[in-house]
């Protein structure tokens, strides 16, 4: 009996202090990207990706892992979608998945604003990048996570060879997301 109560207390304490796990509710989460042509954006999105994030008991995000299925990239037309999967571009046959995993997440001096720094492995390259985001709990208990960053496609050899100059297809690619995260602890 004594042992049981002790065990109960211990698990309660553990429950209070343990990390919380969150993952994206895919139906309500979007990961967008926009390359540019002659300075004009082409808006697209990745249809398949997953986000896993853990927070401390005070809901401060601690670690973030994002996996993106590259073949799910959608620029709104079959012509463009076929083109971007080619070897010079995403080469999704050779590199099916992109992965970001944070090394650390720091709070900024603004409320609910954080910066995750970590490694993005995309195509053949791995680069340290920073992902700024806002993180806020909604009334239903889920988390809304929003952010935007710029990547240089040249860092990842996306658009290599004759495309590498960036004269037509710009080097900067905007990436942004609007995620709905739900707790997975229970």
């Amino acid at each position: 009996m004594k042992i049981n109560i002790l065990f109960l207390l211990m698990s309660l304490a553990a429950g209070l202090t343990s990390a919380e796990q969150w993952r994206d509710n895919s139906a309500a989460s979007k990961l967008y990207f926009a390359p540019s042509f002659e300075g004009l954006p082409i808006n697209g999105e990745f249809r398949q990706f997953s986000v896993n994030i853990s927070s401390d008991p005070n809901l401060q995000p601690e670690s973030l892992i994002v996996l993106v299925q590259i073949a799910s990239a959608d620029l709104g037309s079959s012509d463009l979608n076929e083109a971007i999967q080619m070897v010079d571009w995403f080469d999704s046959q050779g590199f099916a998945e992109a992965r970001f995993s944070s090394d650390q997440i720091v709070a900024t001096d603004q409320d609910n604003q954080f910066v995750a720094s970590g490694r993005l492995s995309l195509k053949a390259a791995e680069k340290t990048i920073e992902v700024p985001f806002s993180w806020q709990q909604s009334a239903d208990g889920s988390i809304r996570m929003l952010g935007e960053l710029k990547l240089d496609r040249g860092d990842f050899a996306i658009g290599s060879g004759e495309w590498s100059s960036g004269d037509q297809i710009g080097l900067a690619v905007k990436v942004w997301f609007d995620l709905n995260l739900v707790g997975t602890n229970d």
């Binding site: 042509f37 002659e38 004009l40 082409i42 037309s77 079959s78 012509d79 004759e162 004269d167 037509q168």
Partner: protein
Amino acid sequence: MALKNFPEQWGWLSKLFHWLTALLIFVQIPLGFYAESLRLSPLKIDVFVWHKSLGMLILLLVIARLLWRIKSTIPVALATSRLQQLLASGAHGLLYTLMLALPVSGWVTSSAANFPVKLFWLIPLPAIVGPDNDLKSLAAEVHEICVFIIIAVLLVHIGAAMRHHFVLRDSALKRMWF
């Protein structure tokens, strides 16, 4: 030289419209086939920017030309028979229709393919429709059919002009020249 048309002579604005669109169309058609034949490359994209830029220029010119035509006297036809007269006006109507249908179907193709365009690398062309794969295929089909029809009608048009000039020896070609 008069700006306006007369019953026996085209004015200089009509002549300018005619020869400018003729020149642009003679560049535009081979340019389109060339662009289409290239493998996907920066060159292909540049050739398509030229093709789309010229296409929109032609569209503007043709609209201006039609407005001018509606307001103007049309020189009397030089047809030698009722049938010829009918053929000539049919061919002219078809040419105007195709000169509008070609740029518009090209514009729809480009917009439905979700490809942004900067005319002459300067002026962003707004999308006429949203991204749509089925519409893109349909518009591309229409564009291609129209180009083969316009080639055929242009051959008839040029052939008829030659016949007027060399066989009938009338003023049909001369009155369109400067």
